[in-house]
């Protein structure tokens, strides 16, 4: 379908004169064309910070991103943790970024979400979905989480079969390019013709919100410290203490440490095999901290803030040895959103 220019000087010759043959057809065809093509696009971007690249032109790829100069473990260093938005999810629940809401075009039949990102350590699942008038499109991520026998979740095969999902590996394009465009498509079905916008009070509009789900997967046992044992539970089980020099083991700031932990429950075969109270055995580390916060460099023990927390009645408290795993991380550079029509 192409758009046809219409000449207003020749097609409308004077008041009450006959309309030219086909004028209405052309206008109708043009209306269809613009409805299907004048669709919105926008983006969410994260500051990527300094590179190690000088000269007259910027670097061609992103491999020279070094991260801003920050205090790291008591001294100044380039910190890649602060490039873009670096995330990892807990093993039991995907993260969900609220990308914003806007007046969806009436003839939009799909939403293309391209996530410019680099990933490391292990696969990361991405799933884009929208809330339109209260319903999830194409699927509700919560209804498509499948836990394994240890309580670690993955997306269902039904969800994975949609174009809105991608399992992102750690490979990257050739050359100096670390990040890659992960293209996700939310199929809206046929165009509803419904106007999600409103020229007056936007509070009265019908809602359309877009989200991006992120679900990490487990890597290998941590190379610095692969095992620990809880010495005390704090804040009702939200934080665990264990013996490991905070700075000497990890050498990071108190804050993000992209790890998962697993309570294998090896000591009690009956509990291991029969008790539902062991599930989930997996926890995500939301924050690593020195147990002695006043002395991070010399603190002989470490705290992990974990999710989900370990309830007071959890059987996990009867066998407190755990394993520490690395986890798939994603560094998001940009997320672009584009409506498409058919």
């Amino acid at each position: 379908m192409t758009w046809t220019p219409i000449t207003d000087t020749t097609d409308t010759t004077g008041d009450e004169s006959p309309l030219s043959s086909g004028l209405g057809v052309d206008l109708k065809s043009n209306a269809d064309h613009v409805l299907a093509n004048r669709l919105k696009r926008h983006s969410v971007t994260y500051n990527l910070g300094p590179t190690s690249s000088g000269g007259g032109t910027p670097p061609a790829g992103d491999s020279t991103l070094v991260g801003p100069t920050l205090p790291v473990a008591g001294s100044s260093a380039s910190d890649p943790e602060a490039i873009g938005l670096k995330l990892s999810s807990p093993p039991t629940m995907p993260l969900s970024i609220d990308l914003g809401s806007w007046p969806l075009s009436s003839q939009a039949t799909s939403i293309r979400v391209v996530v410019g990102c680099s990933t490391a350590v292990a696969d990361v699942d991405l799933f884009a979905y929208a809330l339109a008038d209260g319903g999830s499109t194409p699927l509700s991520p919560l209804r498509h989480l499948v836990p394994d026998e240890d309580g670690k979740v993955s997306f269902s095969n039904t969800l994975k079969a949609t174009d809105a999902h991608a399992t992102v590996g750690t490979s990257s394009p050739s050359g100096t390019q670390d990040s890659k465009p992960v293209a996700l498509t939310i199929d809206l079905g046929s165009a509803t013709g419904t106007d999600y916008g409103h020229q007056g009070d936007p509070g009265g509009r019908r809602s359309f919100r877009l989200f991006l789900c992120i679900l990490s997967t487990a890597g290998a046992l941590d190379g610095s410290l692969s095992q620990g044992g809880v010495s005390s539970f704090q804040e009702g089980g939200r934080r665990i203490n264990f013996v490991a020099g905070f700075d000497s083991t990890w050498g990071i700031n108190p804050g993000p440490l992209h790890r998962w932990i697993k309570f294998p429950g090896n000591a009690d075969d009956e509990i291991l095999n029969t008790s539902d109270a062991w599930v989930p055995k997996w926890r995500g580390v939301l924050q690593a901290r020195p147990a002695d916060l006043a002395n991070p460099a010399s603190s002989p023990s470490t705290s992990f803030v974990i999710h989900p927390s370990i309830g007071l009645d959890s059987a996990l408290r009867t066998n407190t040895d755990f394993e520490i795993y690395t986890v798939g991380t994603i560094t998001i550079h940009s997320i672009t959103i584009q409506e498409f029509g058919t």
Partner: protein, 477 residues
């Protein structure tokens, strides 16, 4: 003036039998096309922003953990940890967008967030309007117009921190509990679990600024709006503000010029929907129509096709050089190495190259009219800014086999110690105000946009950028 007829709020067919050749024209047949076209006109809405103005991690903004200074790591949203009485006038972010005649001085602003402060009405979470002060400026690079407005954002408000809900991933509650190691210094930063994703209500405000200066409707201008928190209380005790989503987009201005112009020929794109009421009684004589009505319809058809106004990238920060103010301009003191403000922003070209003279195929010309390009506006302080576009051929199951073309770059430089708005000019061709699309690119191709910058010397700042699709220069046959 009267608002143009858009957007409609009900489905409308664009295929009535009455528009077929040989069928008598009626008011209904014209209105049946005017309605959906008006809808399109109203929906060429420029999106000014879709993310809050969040912190830039730097070595001067830290929290003390024992003997260490710990930085605040990047977040998606904006958070503030100030005394309640200091929130009055504190920055809540900014946005920037291109001005179009129809959306010049009006916009919608939707902010979600929560506020814990001592003057909240209750310890329980309630949704209350949080006052906002808006400072708008329209700038066409030679003249500025300014205006101030107030608005209110519905936020979840309480005096006390929320309780940890245990099994649900309430990042904000957890961040508060463990903020002694830096607020939101978490592996998930400020992103909540999918179990709480839609737990925050959105309520947008429509702002009709009423600004009548010509800059507010001048297509060479941009609108930049700075948002500050209003008076939420006067207690000198810690308050905690979080803004997790901030969307701003243009809405039809009450003041746009909808007067039809019988003199505009087909090479002109009017840029505004001139139709402000449906065609009705008395019906025209069968097979006939009034010339001006038809011309208005043809002009609207041309507007919808040619005047694009799709914003691709936009981000704005406040005009502050403070290194501890969360919403301050991006800062760098490295005048040698490039910093990257944006990379990995991928879009697909529409059916015709933006900014061109209706080019629908591949072009390797060096002119905007034949190759197309994107409009680029930045606000910088003692800095050089470059905006690049390159073709991307996305391949692989997750993009890992993607190949890239060469960058085509535009530059703007302001070596003075003041925030100055500038257009970026194409490096290779010197086309002003645009970055040309890469040679050889065609409609339907994917491309990537990136923005790099560095100080001209010592400290430099980048306050805002905006990249958008300009209107076609002509749609003549």
């Amino acid at each position: 003036m009267t608002r143009p007829l858009n957007p409609q709020t009900a489905r409308s067919s664009v295929a009535p039998n009455s528009v077929k050749a040989g069928e008598p024209a009626t008011a209904g047949s014209i209105a049946s096309i005017a309605a959906p076209l008006s809808h399109v006109a109203g929906r060429i809405v420029p999106i000014y922003n879709m993310r809050p103005t969040a912190h830039q991690s730097n070595e001067d903004s830290t929290t003390t953990v024992g003997a260490w200074s710990v930085p605040y790591y990047p977040t998606h949203g904006l958070w503030r940890d100030d005394d309640e009485d200091a929130l009055n006038g504190a920055g809540a972010g900014s946005f920037i967008g291109p001005v179009f005649p129809q959306f010049g001085n009006a916009f919608a602003l939707g902010i979600t967030g929560h506020l814990q402060h001592p003057s909240a009405p209750t310890s329980r979470a309630t949704v209350r309007p949080v006052p906002l002060d808006l400072s708008e400026e329209w700038d066409d690079l030679s003249t500025q117009a300014a205006n101030a407005d107030t608005a209110a954002a519905p936020m979840v408000v309480s005096t006390d921190p929320r309780a940890d809900v245990g099994a649900m991933l309430d990042t904000h509650t957890i961040a508060g509990i463990y903020s002694d190691a830096g607020l939101y210094n978490l592996t998930c930063r400020d992103i909540v679990g999918a179990d709480l994703a839609a737990a925050v209500a959105i309520g947008a405000s429509a702002i009709q600024t009423g600004e009548a200066d010509s800059e507010a409707f001048d297509e060479s201008a941009t609108i930049e709006t700075t948002i500050t928190i209003g008076d939420v209380g006067t207690v000198a005790t810690r308050a905690r503000l979080y803004i997790g989503s901030a969307t701003a987009y243009g809405i039809t201005s009450d003041d746009c010029d909808t007067a039809s112009n019988a003199g505009t020929g087909y090479t002109v794109i009017p840029r505004t929907n001139t139709i402000d009421r449906g065609y009705g009684a008395p019906s025209p004589i069968a097979g006939q129509m009034l010339t001006q009505s038809i011309r208005d319809l043809i002009h609207l058809d041309r507007t919808c096709y040619g005047a694009r106004g799709q914003v691709l990238l936009s981000h704005a920060r406040t005009a502050s050089t403070s290194h501890t103010e969360p919403t301050a301009a991006l800062w760098s003191d490295d005048s040698t190495n490039w910093s990257t403000a944006v990379a990995g922003a991928f879009f697909r070209l529409p059916d015709v190259l933006p900014g061109s003279a209706n080019v629908t195929g591949t072009s390797s010309s060096t002119t905007l009219a034949l190759r197309g390009g994107l409009r680029c506006r930045v606000i910088a302080y003692n800095a050089e800014v470059k905006i690049g576009v390159r073709k991307a051929t996305i391949a692989g199951t997750y993009g890992q086999s993607t190949t890239f073309g060469a960058w085509n770059i535009a530059t703007a430089t302001n070596a003075t110690a003041a925030f100055v708005a500038m257009d970026c000019d194409d490096d290779a061709t010197s086309v002003s105000g645009h970055v040309l699309l890469p040679s050889g690119i065609a409609p339907g191709d994917d491309y990537e946009i990136a923005i790099w910058w560095r100080p001209s010397s010592s400290d430099g700042y980048l306050r805002a950028w905006c990249v958008w699709e300009p209107a076609l220069s002509t749609v003549s046959p």
